[in-house]
């Protein structure tokens, strides 16, 4: 039987606010346990939450970025359950009336086609603390630094049909939240965590199969692997005559498998109800306008513009809009050196490889946009050949100065002067009569031999186009 997979994702992204969503405690990562939890975060008696406006602003930016409905009036609700790292015994979240309603994003499939994925909703909520099960000799340690950190939970429609689509969607959301500056998206620090709801059904069936939920996945690679495993597991169960149990599962990266955490019967009844400590959140037009006025050009729009205005391929344009910083870098280089395609080739080629090798992102590149543009300008004006440019690039990367300084210091200027090249070529022709004869008799492969000789004589500095042209002329029978 042929099976169809149905996946929906819930993504928790930490909003980049300085203080927590309902208290003034800082949100910095990595502080000593319980040093960033104030009375409100600790849930002491008598304390009350006050909503952080900045978190609201960031949520609105996201809503606008995915072309979603913005709720003029949304409501905070309490999600009640007992857990030691949940100080109040409830999490303040949004339930029936989230701030961001239906929206959508476009993902690019492997075959180059675009697919629209629906976003059901995105709501504001507070994070819980952390339970530490090691180092406490059979006891559990509680760190409440994280408690009250603002999260935006982004829930997709069950529109995803494969692990690859799920990853493409998750990456898209990751790209957007970073692009519009609402989250650092740091996955190691837990700023971007994914839950996947997955089910399978016979192809052609319209009803959904029983789903399982895989919780707390913190990398795209794990997301793909967890889904691949879980889909296979579900198909095996059904084909073996079994039934899928609705349950929550955990992905174990070391064993590369998902494991049951709790079944539906064991699930909490969260007893959601509107939080009486917080008034309904009313968004007025001015606040919404101010929050979204400075939204940058979004990645998809920018990608299309790169293709249109700069004549880039969809592939190159896609790479260059992976992050806003990269896209800005590209545009700066292109504007300065005057050749967008050259800029795209170098950024996606040489620079990307060097950054990757050094484990750096574009923001930390030792070669700024000005530096790269300076180098590309020397290619454009014929001072450097491609091959020489690579040498210069390496020298700039190593901190030996800008393009012109390196060219000067190493004497890497391309020789484009016919008065220099012609006598050189004449000498080589004179010194290799046998090869000249063979070439003229039709052994055209020998052309490369002559080019090589010229480059050897000039330490690779001769302008290759000129060399070709003069050689052809001189070697003609």
């Amino acid at each position: 039987m042929s099976w169809e997979t149905v996946i929906g994702l819930e993504i928790h992204t930490q909003l980049a606010t300085r203080s927590k969503i309902f208290s003034g405690a800082p949100t910095r990562f990595g502080a000593d346990p319980n040093t960033q939890a104030c009375a409100i975060d600790l849930g002491l008696p008598g304390v009350l939450p006050v909503l952080n406006r900045e978190a609201v602003r960031l949520a609105l930016r996201f809503g606008r970025a995915i072309d979603a409905e913005i709720a003029e009036r949304s409501v905070f609700a309490r999600k009640n359950y007992f857990y030691p790292d949940l100080p109040k015994g409830y999490q303040i979240s949004q339930y029936e009336r989230p701030i961001v309603g239906r929206g959508r994003v476009e993902i690019l499939l492997d075959d180059g086609a675009e697919k629209t994925i629906g976003v059901t909703r995105a709501h504001l909520e507070e994070d819980a603390g952390k339970s530490l099960h090691e180092d406490f000799h059979g006891l559990t340690g509680i760190d409440l630094n994280r408690a009250g950190t603002p999260l935006l939970e982004i829930v997709s429609e069950p529109d995803l049909r494969s692990p690859q689509e799920a990853v493409a969607y998750a990456r898209k959301i990751h790209q957007i939240v970073r692009w519009i500056g609402i989250s650092d998206g740091n996955m190691q620090e837990g700023s971007f965590r994914m839950d996947a709801n997955v089910s399978v059904r016979p192809r052609g069936e319209t009803r959904l199969g029983t789903r399982t939920e895989i919780k707390n996945i913190n990398s795209f690679r794990f997301l793909e692997r967890a889904l691949v495993f879980e889909i296979e597991r579900q198909i095996d169960v059904i084909e073996g005559g079994g039934r899928i149990v609705q349950e929550t599962r955990l992905y174990d990266a070391e064993r590369d498998e998902t494991r049951s955490m709790r079944t539906k019967e064991e699930a909490n009844d969260y007893r959601y109800f509107p939080d009486p400590d917080l008034l309904p959140l009313v968004i007025d037009g001015d606040f919404l306008a101010a929050a979204t006025a400075d939204l940058p050009e979004l990645p998809d729009v920018r990608r299309a513009r790169f293709e249109r205005d700069h004549g880039l391929s969809p592939y190159d344009a896609g790479l260059l809009t992976a992050s806003r910083e990269l896209a800005d870098y590209f545009e700066a280089v292109a504007a300065r050196c005057g050749d967008a395609k050259l800029a795209a080739n170098w950024i996606n080629g040489e620079l990307a490889a060097a950054l990757n090798k050094a484990g750096l992102t574009i923001e930390a590149s030792p070669l700024g946009s000005e530096g790269l543009a300076g180098l590309l300008a020397r290619i454009a004006d014929g001072t450097l050949s491609g091959k020489l440019a690579k040498q210069v690039f390496e020298a700039i990367w190593a901190g030996e100065g800008d393009a012109d300084a390196v060219i000067e210091a190493k004497g890497l200027r391309q020789i484009s002067d016919a008065g220099t090249i012609e006598p050189l070529i004449d000498a080589i022709i004179a010194a290799n009569p046998t090869q000249v004869e063979q070439y003229r008799a039709g052994k055209e492969k020998l052309f490369g031999f002559f080019v090589g000789q010229v480059m050897k004589e000039t330490q690779g500095k001769a302008n290759p186009q000129q060399v070709n042209e003069i050689l052809r002329r001189r070697l003609a029978p």
Partner: protein, 484 residues
Amino acid sequence: MLEKTIAELTADLEAGRCSSRELTELYLERIERLDPDLNAFITVTAEAALTAAERADARRRAGDAGPLTGIPIAHKDIFCTRGIKTSCGSRMLDNFIAPYDATVVERLERAGVVLLGKTNMDEFAMGSSNETSWYGPVRNPWDRTRVPGGSSGGSAAAVAARLCVAATATDTGGSIRQPAALCGLTGLKPTYGRVSRWGMIAFASSLDQGGILARSAADVAPLLQAIAGFDPQDSTSADVPVPDYAAALDADIAGLRIGLPEEYFGAGLDPAVAASVEAAIEELRRLGAAVRPIRLPNGPLSVPVYYVVAPAECSSNLARYDGVRFGHRCTDPQGLEDLYTRTRAEGFGAEVKRRIMVGTYVLSAGYYDAYYLKAQQIRQLIAEDFRRAFAEVDLIAGPTSPTTAFPLGAKVDDPVAMYLNDIYTIAANLAGLPALSLPVAPVGGLPVGLHLIGNHFDEPRLLATAHRLQQATDWHRAAPPGCA
């Protein structure tokens, strides 16, 4: 001295006829002598009180005193006080010392009051007799075999017995007004949002409101003045200007339109209490008020609605008492479940557990719509009743409580009978309205309260009406035997 109003005491202090230190010593001596029998205080802060009194005297000498500087009061033990135990009447918080002051506490401290101590109360403010306190019941100063009412029973008994000039209190379904009625005091529950809830330990957040218990409306006014106003730390506090309450006291009540809901004078009301309340209303009429009958058709539903909404919120509000971070923790827990179970079984009393269970039930999947949602819908209807009524009248009057103070132990085994004590007071909380109870003619030597409900933020009119009645009558001057 004990019978003087705050304004009179302030005049004495200002004129140097007495000092705050002397006043404080007087009350501390009375607490020491009378409170072992009444049990109105959970904590007495004698030393800190004397220090505060001296500071107040110094302030006055420096010409920096206000209308409350040096006045000895008490706080209900539901208000967090930095460095002083705040128990909320519960074993759960017997060891809890807050690292912050409630806004109410902070504002009164800034006004220069002298804090004598923290008063007894029903556990987590859940009760109408002060019998659910972990610290034992409070006795009514008028008759020590009877309850003072609840949940602010300690504050009421302390003020009635002249153990302090006035006290703070809170009211979720009648917890200021019913004890005021049963102890012969003037008690005001302000409009929801008028007084900040920051640092006031939550029972039912959408109903809880801090207020004042005092001997007269004239004494309530300056205290309300100090505690009222917007607080950025409480998202539900109202950003509405605070009027001058003392100035409002003398407003004329001629032509005041008072509505009498027929629902408040029906079955269950003690006829003698009814007669006393009617006599007071007659007095208001004599003073120029126009009285007319009105209808609050959904009024009878307020008790069932309240006993869904309040437990629902309390079941969530009290989830934080889990033995993990503060408060009571069972000894030697064997795992998480055991920690939760024993901590909460030991830390909470029967009434609190009952309400947590009811609240958990009404919020549960499958019951939410039938109970919680339905209750919220009826709550809207109750509020709508009042909106309609206030289009026709300025105030609504009736009895505060169906009976006078009942004997200790009389209703402890019958929660529903206990809940019906608040039948007249609960609706004001559900609608967020300000309401006041003031003493009228006693019945059988026990105080009776007249209940006045005002429109939102109409505390000035409530105070003016009560003040006018108190100028014309002596009911509020009566002191419990042996307490004057």
